[in-house]
């Protein structure tokens, strides 16, 4: 399964993930308090500078991720050109791009395993409320493993439909697809129980 971590290794990959996440929270809060468009423009240049540091490939991958923002930017731009509040519009768009770009930067420079370690740490205090970190980690692993399996089954289903009909399958295919998923859940649960389930000793 592909993750969004950057293929280019950067120095930031070695920084502690918890620290990066805390930094991200703080800087996003600050972004929402600044109201001056000139300052936002400077900050955006700074963020883009961070993207440029690890090289061309990293920057291209990063900028591709930001393309999802253009419909919002367009709506806000048209809106504010029409209403005449151009400074506010510029602030909103610049802040939006910086905030999303910063967050993506953390995602790109943090390995999945490091993120899961942070989750493990965060889930420890929740143990008091009945959340078992081991169950959470197993559930994460199950989703990562089962998504490609379901994807393949879904693709097969829609191909089977197309082999029989010239019309699109549309939403009708979701019923057999969900039934397949329910049956898989049954099998996975049986397999888990057969291996001792969740009642085995936790080891660290």
């Amino acid at each position: 399964m592909i993750s969004l971590t950057s293929p280019v290794r950067t120095k930031a990959h070695d920084w502690p993930a918890g620290l990066k996440l805390a930094g991200l929270c703080a800087s996003t809060l600050v972004l929402f308090y600044i109201r001056d468009p000139a300052m936002h423009f400077g900050l955006l240049l700074l963020v883009l500078g961070l993207y440029a540091l690890p090289g061309r490939r990293f920057m291209d991958a990063g900028l591709r991720q930001l393309r999802i923002l253009w419909p919002f930017a367009l709506v806000v731009a048209v809106w504010h050109l029409w209403s005449g509040e151009i400074a506010t519009g510029a602030t909103v768009i610049l802040r939006l791009v910086s905030a999303v770009a910063l967050a993506n930067l953390v995602t790109m420079t943090t390995r999945l395993s490091d993120m899961i370690d942070v989750l493990h740490g965060l889930s420890r205090p929740l143990r008091r409320f009945g959340l078992r970190p081991r169950v959470l980690e197993l559930a994460i692993a199950l989703v990562i493993r089962l998504t490609p399996v379901l994807l393949q089954k879904g693709t097969l289903l829609s191909e089977a439909w197309q082999a029989r009909s010239r019309r699109r399958s549309g939403w009708r295919i979701i019923l057999p697809f969900t039934v397949l998923a329910l049956d898989d859940a049954e099998h996975v649960a049986e397999a888990l129980r057969a291996r001792g389930g969740f009642n085995t000793q936790e080891c660290h």
Partner: protein, 187 residues
């Protein structure tokens, strides 16, 4: 316990798969993502608590950087983007949908699940989504409502389909539709 965890994980994977299979488009050939329908289905089938947990698990995986949202999107950036409110509202939407299906037992399941999906997946979800848009885009309430109104017809369609699917699933696999399972044998 094992069955609950397996169902929660499988439904999280199902939400992902619904967004990633390119050939699933809804009626009229409009490429609306089936992913938000997965959220309604999750609540209607798994019930309030497990449905919300399943959606939460899915969001957790998106947040730690897996590209599971429709179009292969993922990562922390989505949680500060203008549509973040809708994402954050997903667990609540599944919870409310599930809660209604669990408690309103006197009408046919198709109707109940349709109405539950409309209330959870549209009313509750849009409440979160609108708050998100208000914070990120600096618009007034009426402007934002005008902005999201365009998506209501598509989501109504999804809610109706989710309701019909729930009733069909209850027939095909009654033991797995936890929202309607007997309380006594629920774990």
């Amino acid at each position: 316990m094992e069955k609950n965890v397996a169902l929660i994980a499988l439904f999280a994977a199902l939400i992902a798969a619904l967004g990633l299979i390119p050939k699933i488009t809804l009626a009229f050939g409009v490429p609306i993502t089936a992913q938000s329908m997965g959220v309604m289905l999750c609540g209607a089938v798994l019930g309030s608590r497990k449905g919300a947990l399943s959606v939460l698990l899915f969001l957790l995986l998106v947040a730690i950087g897996l590209p599971l949202l429709s179009g292969g999107r993922g990562g922390l950036g989505l949680f500060v983007s203008p549509s973040a409110g809708f994402l954050i509202g997903w667990p609540a939407a599944a919870f409310v949908t599930g809660w209604i299906v669990e408690h309103w037992r006197l009408a046919p399941l198709t109707l109940v699940a349709c109405v539950a999906s409309v209330i959870g997946g549209i009313v509750v979800l849009y409440l979160f989504g609108i708050i998100g848009l208000l914070i990120t885009l600096d618009k007034t309430l009426s402007e934002v409502i005008w902005l999201v109104a365009a998506f209501v017809p598509g989501d109504l369609l999804k809610a109706i389909i989710a309701g019909m699917l729930t009733a069909a699933l209850a027939k095909a696999r009654p033991g797995s539709v936890l929202s309607r399972a007997n309380r006594t044998d629920a774990v």
